[in-house]
C-alpha cells in the first residue's frame, strides 16, 4: 500500500473542510494518499467516470443534491467504489441511513482527526473489497449451482438422490420418465433398488404401458444439502440391448448362410469329381480296353490327387459341422498300434514317391484308447500328410505312441519330421481356422488351412490336447493325446451308492448276426452302426450304460448294456430293444437277426461299508468278465 497511493475523491462543496481533510491525509506518514476534489455531485460523477478512484468521501449536502438522496444517486452511479459519508453532528440519523443503504462508514465533520480518518478510509476500502469479493463468490456459487441444476435437469441419464435409508430425496426429469412416476410421487418414497456404491447393476423396470425398460444403474456416495447420500445414475439401455441382440442374430444368420454356402459348394464340387473318379476307375479297371503300365502309373497319380481333392472337400464340410457342433464321433476301445499300421498302408504311396521313410515306434503292450478309429485315422493321416508336405526328399517321419508323462490317463501320440520346421509365430497360430503358413512359395500346394484346425477340433472332441514343438530348420513334432479306455470310468456314473443299494444290476447282451452264417458286408456294417445308434436311444441317463462297440468280429457283433434295473425293469428294457431292432428297415434289409438276452449281476454285500472307488472297480471287473465270457462263448458256438 505504501507504494501505490490511495486515491481519494472528496465530493465536498466546503473548500475549507476539503482542504482540512486533505491536510490530515497528506500529513499521515504511514501511508500515502492522493486527494482530488469535486465540488458538486455532477463533478463527482464526471471524475468517477474517469475511473481509478479507491474511495469516495461524500458530503451529503451539495449544491446539486441534498440529504440521503445524494448517497443514493452516487451509489447508484458507482457500484465498485466504497463511499464514506461526511455529515455534521446534527445529521446522525442521515449517516446511519446511508450506512444501512451500503455506505462503508460515516464521519462527522469537525470530529475527525488524521488517525481516525486514515484508519476509517483503510477499513472502508478493505471492507468494501471484502464485500465485493463475497458478492463475487456468492455470484459464482449461484452460477455454479444453477449450472449444476441445469446439468441434472437436462441430463439424459436419470438421476436419483437417495438417502442412506433408501428414501428418495430428488429425481430429475429423465429419471421421472424412466421410472414412469413424477417427482412428487417419488419424493419421500423408498427407492426400492439395492444401494451399493460404486457398482454397476442392470435393472428391469416395468413400464406403466407394458413392457420393460432395461436400465444400467451406477451408484456413488456424495453430499446433498449437507447430508451423505447416494446418487444413482440411470441409463436407458433398452435400445442398446436390442441392437446387440439384433447384431447377434445377424451374425448367427451370416454363420448359417456361410455354412449353407460351404455345404452347397462341397456338394457342387462333388459332382464333377464323381465323374472324373468314375472314368478313371473305368480305365484303370480295363473297362475301356487294355492300358500300358505307364498309363496305369499316370492314372494312379490322377486318382491319388483326386482323393486328395476329395479330402479337401470333405474338410470343408467337416468344418461347417464342427462349427455347428454336429460333428459326430463314436468312441470305442481301439488299439492305436493297429491303427497306425493301417494308416501307414494308406500313406506309404505318397511318402515313398518322395523317398521319405515312414516309421513307427509303438510299444507292444499298449492299453487301448477310447476313441473313434475313423477320426484318429483322420488325425494321423492329416498330420503325416502335413509332415510329408514340409519334409524334403530322403527325410524321415516317425510316429511314437506312449503313455503321456504329465497325465497317465492319456496316451500321447507324436509325429516327428525332419522338415523345414515352424517359426515361433506360426507355431502360435498353426491350429487356427484358415491359418496358412507364410512363405511356402517352394510348395506347390498350400492347402485350405483347415487340416490342423480339424485335427484340433477332433482331438478336443475326444477330450485330448494337441500341440507342436519345433525349431525353424530343424523339423517339427506334433503331439496329441487320447484318453485310455477304462471300463471303470465308464461305469462310475451309474454305480452310485443309491443304484447299488437297490441291489439290481443287469448285464444285457444284444447279438447281431446274419440269419445265415456269412462274413459281414459293408451294408451289414452300416446296419450295425445304425443298431448301435438305436441302442443309444433306448438307454436312460444315470441308470444305463451302453458299452462301446467292443464285440465285433468278421461274422457279427455283440453289443453290451449295463442297466441299473431289477428283473422286471430289465425285461421291459430288453423287449423294447428287441422291438426297436426288429422293426428297423436298415437291419431287416441287411439280413441281420437281433438276439437280446440278459443276466443279473451279483452286487457285493455290505455295499455301504466299502469305499465307492473300490466298489466300482469290483463291479467293473465282474462286468469285464461277463463281456469276455460272452465273446468267448460266441466264438466257440460259431
Amino acid at each position: 500500500m505504501k507504494d501505490t497511493p490511495v486515491k481519494v475523491l472528496m465530493i465536498e462543496d466546503h473548500r475549507d473542510i476539503a482542504f482540512l481533510l486533505k491536510e490530515m491525509l497528506t500529513k499521515e506518514k504511514s501511508s500515502s494518499f492522493t486527494v482530488e476534489y469535486a465540488y458538486s455531485l455532477k463533478e463527482g460523477f464526471e471524475r468517477l467516470d474517469n475511473g481509478n478512484i479507491d474511495v469516495v468521501l461524500l458530503d451529503l449536502g451539495l449544491p446539486d443534491s441534498q440529504g440521503i438522496g445524494t448517497f443514493e444517486k452516487l451509489s447508484e452511479h458507482t457500484k465498485d467504489v466504497p463511499i464514506m459519508v461526511l455529515t455534521g453532528q446534527e445529521d446522525q440519523k442521515l449517516a446511519f441511513q446511508a450506512v444501512q443503504q451500503g455506505a462503508q462508514d460515516y464521519l462527522f465533520k469537525g470530529e475527525v482527526d488524521s488517525k481516525v480518518l486514515v484508519r476509517s478510509i483503510r477499513y472502508a476500502i478493505e471492507r468494501h473489497r471484502m464485500v465485493v469479493e463475497l458478492e463475487r463468490h456468492v455470484r459464482r456459487l449461484k452460477e455454479s449451482e444453477s449450472r449444476f441444476h441445469t446439468m441434472i435437469e437436462k441430463n439424459v441419464d436419470g438421476i436419483v438422490i437417495v438417502d442412506k435409508q433408501g428414501v428418495v430425496l430428488f429425481v430429475n426429469p429423465a429419471a421421472e420418465d424412466l421410472l414412469g412416476r413424477t417427482l412428487e410421487e417419488l419424493i419421500g418414497e423408498l427407492f426400492g433398488f439395492p444401494l451399493v456404491s460404486g457398482e454397476k447393476t442392470e435393472l428391469e423396470i416395468f413400464r406403466k404401458e407394458g413392457g420393460t425398460t432395461a436400465v444400467d444403474m451406477r451408484m456413488v456416495e456424495t453430499e446433498w444439502e449437507g447430508r451423505s447420500v447416494y446418487l444413482a445414475s440411470l441409463r436407458d439401455i433398452t435400445d442398446r440391448k436390442r441392437m446387440l441382440l439384433e447384431l447377434k442374430q445377424t451374425q448367427q444368420q451370416q454363420l448359417e448362410l456361410k455354412d449353407q454356402f460351404l455345404s452347397n459348394v462341397s456338394h457342387e464340387l462333388r459332382s464333377p469329381l464323381t465323374a472324373i473318379h468314375q472314368f478313371i476307375t473305368i480305365m484303370l479297371d480295363g473297362l475301356a480296353g487294355d492300358i500300358s503300365s505307364e498309363q496305369r502309373d499316370y492314372l494312379e497319380i490322377v486318382l491319388r490327387n483326386l482323393k486328395q481333392l476329395r479330402t479337401m472337400i470333405d474338410d470343408l464340410l467337416e468344418v461347417t459341422r464342427a462349427e455347428t457342433v454336429s460333428l459326430t464321433i463314436e468312441l470305442r476301445p481301439i488299439s492305436v498300434g493297429e491303427l497306425i499300421t493301417e494308416t501307414f498302408d494308406t500313406l506309404h504311396a505318397t511318402a515313398s514317391s518322395q523317398e521319405i521313410v515312414l516309421s513307427s515306434e509303438v510299444p507292444d503292450e499298449l492299453s487301448p484308447v477310447f476313441a473313434d478309429p475313423d477320426r484318429v485315422r483322420q488325425i494321423i493321416i492329416n498330420l503325416v500328410n502335413n509332415a510329408i508336405k514340409f519334409t524334403p526328399e530322403k527325410g524321415t517321419i516317425t510316429i511314437h505312441a506312449q503313455p503321456y508323462e504329465k497325465d497317465p490317463r492319456f496316451l500321447c501320440i507324436s509325429v516327428t519330421d525332419t522338415g523345414c520346421g515352424i517359426s515361433p509365430e506360426d507355431k502360435e497360430r498353426i491350429f487356427e481356422y484358415l491359418y496358412q503358413v507364410e512363405n511356402t512359395v517352394e510348395l506347390s500346394r498350400k492347402g485350405l488351412g483347415l487340416g490342423l484346425y480339424i485335427c484340433k477340433e477332433l482331438v478336443s472332441h475326444h477330450g485330448g490336447q494337441i500341440w507342436v514343438e519345433s525349431q525353424s530348420g530343424q523339423g517339427s513334432t506334433f503331439f496329441f493325446t487320447l484318453p485310455f479306455f477304462s471300463l471303470t470310468d465308464l461305469l462310475t456314473p451309474i454305480f452310485t451308492p443309491k443304484n447299488l443299494l437297490k441291489g439290481s444290476i443287469a448285464f444285457v447282451t444284444v447279438e447281431m448276426l446274419p440269419a445265415e452264417e456269412r462274413f459281414l458286408t459293408k451294408t451289414d456294417e452300416r446296419a450295425l452302426r445304425g443298431s448301435f445308434n438305436l441302442l443309444k436311444s433306448c438307454v436312460l441317463p444315470d441308470l444305463d450304460v451302453l458299452l462301446p462297440r467292443i464285440g465285433r468280429t468278421k461274422k457279427g457283433e455283440i453289443f453290451f448294456l449295463v442297466a441299473s434295473a431289477d428283473q422286471q425293469g430289465t425285461e421291459v428294457l430288453t423287449s423294447r430293444i428287441k422291438e426297436q431292432l426288429t422293426s428297423c428297415e436298415e437291419i431287416k434289409n441287411a439280413g441281420l437277426d437281433p438276439m437280446v438276452s440278459f443276466a443279473m449281476v451279483d452286487i457285493p454285500s455290505r455295499v455301504d461299508e466299502k469305499p465307492r472307488e473300490q466298489l466300482v472297480k469290483e463291479m467293473a471287473d465282474s462286468i469285464e468278465t461277463l463281456v469276455n465270457k460272452s465273446l468267448y462263448k460266441r466264438r466257440n458256438y460259431k
Binding site: H267, L273, T274, A275, R526
Partner: protein, 125 residues
C-alpha cells in the same frame, strides 16, 4: 451275369454314362431317366429290377420319385439305392424314410456299390 435291368436316374449325363459302362461290365442292363417325371414314366414302362436314384433332379426330386414309386403297387417293391452328392447328414435319414434301401454319397466306392446292388437283386425284396 443275370441280365437284370437297372434304372439310372441322374441329370448328369457324364455320370450316367460312367455308371452305364460300370454296370454293363458287370452284366447288368441299364435304362436312364434325366428328371423326376420321366423317372416314374420309364419305371412304369421298363419295370426295372433296381433303381439308382439321384436326389437333386429337375421336374420332381428324388424324394418325390420315391414317393411316386412307393405308391404304385406294381413298382413299390423295386429296391432303390440313393446315389447323391448331398451331405448324408439329414438326407440319409430322410431318404430311408421315403423308402430308400441304401444311401451312397458320391463319389461312391465302386466295389461297395456293386456289392449292394448284387445283394438287393439276389434277394429280390
Amino acid at each position: 451275369m443275370s441280365g437284370k435291368k437297372i434304372l439310372i436316374v441322374d441329370d448328369d449325363q457324364d455320370l450316367t454314362r460312367g455308371l452305364k459302362i460300370r454296370l454293363r461290365a458287370n452284366g447288368y442292363e441299364t435304362v436312364f431317366a434325366g428328371d423326376g417325371y420321366s423317372a416314374v414314366k420309364i419305371a412304369k414302362e421298363e419295370k426295372p429290377d433296381l433303381v439308382l436314384l439321384d436326389l437333386g433332379l429337375p421336374a420332381g426330386d428324388g424324394f418325390i420319385v420315391m414317393e411316386r414309386l412307393k405308391n404304385l403297387s406294381s413298382l413299390s417293391s423295386i429296391p432303390i439305392i440313393v446315389l447323391s452328392a448331398r451331405d448324408p447328414k439329414g438326407n440319409m435319414e430322410r431318404a430311408f424314410q421315403a423308402g430308400a434301401n441304401a444311401f451312397f454319397q458320391k463319389p461312391a466306392d465302386n466295389e461297395e456299390l456293386l456289392e449292394t446292388i448284387q445283394r438287393f437283386l439276389k434277394k429280390g425284396i
